[in-house]
Amino acid sequence: MAATTADPRTVHVEHCMGTVFSIDIRDAGNWSDAVADVVGWLHHVDAVFSTYRPDSLISRLGREELPLADVGSEVREVLDACEQLALATGGTFTATPNGQLDPSGYVKGWAIDRAARLLVDAGVQNGAINGGGDMQLLGGAAPDRPWRVGIADPSDPQQVLVVVEGRDLAVATSGTAERGGHITDPSTGGAASALRSATVTGPRLAEVDAYATAAFVLGDRALDWIGTLDGYEAMTVAADGTIARTTGFPTAAPPPPVRRSIRITPGRT
C-alpha cells in the first residue's frame, strides 16, 4: 500500500523504566528531533528516579546520603507533588509505599505528562505518549477524529473491554494483570485486591496516573471518590468482572462488540 494514502503518522517505541513507551505523532512532518527530546527526557528521568539504580538521586536520598537541599528542582517538584497527592487521596497514594522512599507511582505519569509538553512545544497538535498502558493524548488521532483507547480486559489483556473516546485526554489504568499484586494498600500493608483494575481519565497524566493507583486501592469506594473530583472520571472492573463507571466516563458509543471466540488455525495450507 502506498504510504501516501495513509494518514500521517510517526511512531517511536522506546524501552525505558522497565516498560515500553510508544510515541505516536499524527501530524505530518519530520518529528525526529522532538522524538529524540522525549527519549532523552525519559532516560534522564529514569537515571534520576530509578529505585532500581543504587546510584540514582532518589536512591541516595532514600539512604539519606544526600540532604534534600542538595537535590535539583525536579526531585523537589516530584516529592512536593507526591505530598499533595497524599493529602488529596487521604494517604491512599503515598511516595513511601513500603516505608521506603519510592515515588515511582508518580514518576512515570509525570514524566509522560512533561514529555507530552515537549511535543507541544515542538509544534505537535495531534499525538500520544503511552507508557506501559498509561497515556497523555494530545488533540485527536487525526485532526478531525478523536482518539479511541481500548481498555484492556484485566483477565485477558489481549481483549478490549471498553473503548474510551476523547481529545486532549489522559488515561491511566492500575491493576494486577501484568505484574501481579504490586500495589500496596497503605492502610493494611497488604496487596490491594478488591478490584481487577481501575481506569481514570482526566486532563493531565501526572494526576490521572496517581488517581488510578489510589482508585485501585480504594476498591468499591473508588467511583464515589473520583466522582467528587472535577474533571476526572473512572471505570472499575471488580474481582467478579463487573464493570462500573462514573456517569461522565467517556465511553465511546456504540459499545464495543462482546468478546467472541475466534478459531485459531495456524498451519501450512
Binding site: 500500500m1 504510504a3 494514502t5 495513509a6 503518522r9 510517526t10 511512531v11 517505541v13 524501552h15 522497565g18 516498560t19 515500553v20 510508544s22 505516536d24 512515570k108 500520544a128 503511552n130 506501559g132 498502558g133 498509561d134 497515556m135 493524548l137 488521532a141 482518539w147 479511541r148 483507547v149 481500548g150 481498555i151 484492556a152 484485566p154 489483556p157 489481549q158 481483549q159 478490549v160 473503548v163 474510551v164 488515561v171 489504568t173 492500575s174 491493576g175 494486577t176 494483570a177 501484568e178 505484574r179 483494575s197 481506569t199 464495543p256 462488540p257 462482546v258 468478546r259 467472541r260 471466540s261 475466534i262 478459531r263 485459531i264 488455525t265 495456524p266 498451519g267 501450512r268 495450507t269
Partner: protein, 159 residues
Amino acid sequence: MRRAILTLLSTVAGLVLLLNFKTSATTAVAPAVGASGTSSASAAPSSSSSTSSSGSSSSTSGSSGSGSGTKTLTGSSVDTRWGPVQVRITVTNGKITAANAIDYPNSNGHDQEINSTAIPTLNSEAVSAGNAQIDQVSGATYTSEGYIASLQSALDQAS
C-alpha cells in the same frame, strides 16, 4: 478497506515482531486481494468453544452472501533470516474475522515453540484491534517483555 489493509499490515508486522525479525512494515508487505467468500470454513468464529455472544458474528454476516461481504487478503511472503513469513486474513464486512499464518519458520523445535505462542497471540490481537478500531490501549502496566505480545505493540506496528 483501508483500515482492513492497515490491520493486515499490523498483522504481518506483529508476527514479524513476535518472531523477532527486524524489518519494516511498509516494505515488508504488498497486500494482494485474493478470492472472496471461499474460505468461510476456517474464517467462521468457532461456536464450540465460544463462551459469549454469537449475536455479533451473525449480525456481521447477515448482509453478505458469498460476494462482497467476505474477503480474503493474503500478504506477500516475506523473507526473513529465519525463513519465509506469510499471513492471510479474512475480512467480513470490514472487520477481521480470522488471521492465519500460512507460512512461517517451522524448521526446528525453537521455531515451533515460538510459533505455538506467537501465532495465536497474533491472531487474537489482529481480530481484537480490527473490530474495536482503536488507536491506543490502556491497561495494567506491562513489562518490556509483555509489550511484545501486547495489543499496543500491534497498534504501534500499524503505521
